[in-house]
Amino acid sequence: MSETADSTTSGSMTGPRSPGPRRMSWAWVGVLPFFIFVMAFLLLPSAAIFVGSFQNPQGQFTLDNLAGLLRPNIRRAYALSIQISAATALGGGLFGFLLAYAVTIGGLPRPVRSTLITFSGVASNFAGVPLAFAFISTLGRTGFITAVFRTLFNQNIYDMGFNLYSFLGLSLTYMYFQFPLMVLIMTPSLDGLKREWREASENLGATSLQYWRHIALPILLPSLLGTMILLFGNAFGAYATAFALTGGLLNLVTIVIGAQMRGDVLHDPNLGYALALGMVMIMAVSIAGYTWLQRQTERWLR
């Protein structure tokens, strides 16, 4: 695929060991290990899932697995995954944006900003079992905030309808890695808003609201939306945190795929492949959306 690869690079770069001009370049050999690895451990397994979702257990072609995605319990799993991902993307996105705003334009001192960025780096990578456990110790039945509510207000939040092992509880837990990711991505974007734009609009008599409505927001919008889509994908693909927190109580798509793989329920790996395929398609659409929107922003924020 890259035999002519060298033609655009300068001739002097071909090195001392290759005298004279050549038509055939061996430069592509240098990236061969990478392509072999990606082929073997990323593309081939993905292709296996793709093929598997069009096969029955005997290996014959079928569309039954895709039709199986329309079963009520599977549809509910997709709906729940999409709801949780959308809710935490929106919530985490808004909160993360406000935080990023606070440390960039909001006028907080520099050390606060670097603290927040470091915090965000840690929190966006803190997931899975430890995160689930942190929330159980905080909002679980014997958790510390639950206890505070009991002693201070004489209220049991579990009697009031709260449950950590529910939609709300899982969303609160996901938020822990969602909003920091938003902070990490939005801070540079907000830095890119030029002071001159604000000054120019103020000189022309614009109010703060008008500045945001007509200048800052339109510039930031693609980045805002794009990052929220990224957060959506981030939550959609999450398995470890949900598994550790609810132990498979909430039927998210990832949890259902896991159950199919382990053979807990009606072992049907081919339906599992179709589930995974549907998941990859939703992820692909969201990541493509993110990339496209991010590119729209880059024209302005450089």
């Binding site: 690895f37 397994p45 296996a48 899932i49 705003y101 006028g107 990490l184 994908g233 995974a276």
Partner: protein, 271 residues
């Protein structure tokens, strides 16, 4: 500006609370193993458990191997693409971003389907099922981890390469008579040190806490052990959560120090 700052402080305070309360809850819980007094008993018990030591050592070994394989794979590729094959850059970039599209649970599903049976070409078996042997399963685990960390590692290395003038440095070294090993070892590598180290630390943080792939390949790693432990124990998992948080914190703190002012390489994985 004053009114602004009040709101800003409010958001920041809320963020700090969200961040710290669960940590405080876990820390508090982990210290209460002995009734009526705060103690480090849970930590002593958790850290002394031979199964913890075994699983944690295993995860650290896997992390180190992942870092080595990942760096050997990514650094030469990124360097070569910068230097000689710039038109391949979009392809390589796309491939390194693919793991974002393919969640860990889907990846491990695909790996098991592909390598959980004999690999055959034209009905000739060239490889027995990898999942049947310890060595095979561990290799598969490392391969999966390399895939998971690829987006971060590639981005870190790519940022590092962008920040220096690869071409001029390489030409200068060549005109001084340096061969490729010398160029890579004594010119490129030292300039990439910060980028490589931060990529490696991020990989370490991801791998040591990773549950999904290790779980389905049935490897005795730290996260599956922690998940299992939390079914039967209360205080020890809290202590280990704090330990694992401290590790993540240490890794991120060092990355932060290394990459001050450079575009960030941080970002979530392994949820």
């Amino acid at each position: 500006m004053k009114r602004f700052a009040i709101w800003s402080w409010l958001w920041f305070a809320l963020g700090a609370l969200y961040f710290l309360l669960p940590l405080y809850g876990t820390l508090d819980f982990s210290l209460r193993m002995q009734r009526g007094t705060l103690s480090l008993l849970a930590y002593q018990k958790a850290l002394a458990d031979p199964q913890f030591i075994r699983s944690f050592t295993f995860s650290v070994q896997m992390a180190v191997l992942t870092i080595i394989v990942g760096l050997l794979l990514i650094v030469p590729t990124a360097y070569w693409v910068h230097l000689r094959l710039p038109e391949l850059r979009p392809v390589v970039e796309f491939l390194t971003l693919l793991p974002f599209v393919i969640p860990a649970i889907v990846l491990v599903f695909g790996l098991i389907r592909t390598y959980g049976r004999p690999v055959t070409i034209l009905s000739v078996t060239i490889m027995p099922p990898l999942t049947n042997t310890t060595l095979g399963a561990n290799s598969l685990l490392i391969a999966g981890y390399v895939v998971l960390s690829m987006p971060y590692l590639y981005r870190a290395v790519d940022n590092g390469l962008r920040a220096m003038d690869v071409r001029t440095l390489t030409e200068a070294a060549q005109s001084l008579g340096a061969g490729w090993p010398t160029i890579v070892a004594r010119v490129i590598f030292p300039n990439l040190r910060a980028a490589l180290l931060s990529g490696a630390l991020l990989t370490f943080a991801i791998v040591v806490g990773e549950l999904t792939i290790a779980n389905f390949l049935a490897r005795p790693a730290f996260a599956p052990y922690l998940a299992l432990l939390s079914n039967s124990r209360a205080y020890e998992p809290a202590a280990l959560s704090i330990v694992s948080f401290a590790l993540t914190w240490a890794a991120m703190g060092i990355i932060d120090l290394l990459t001050r002012g450079a575009p960030g390489v941080l970002g979530g994985a392994g949820h």
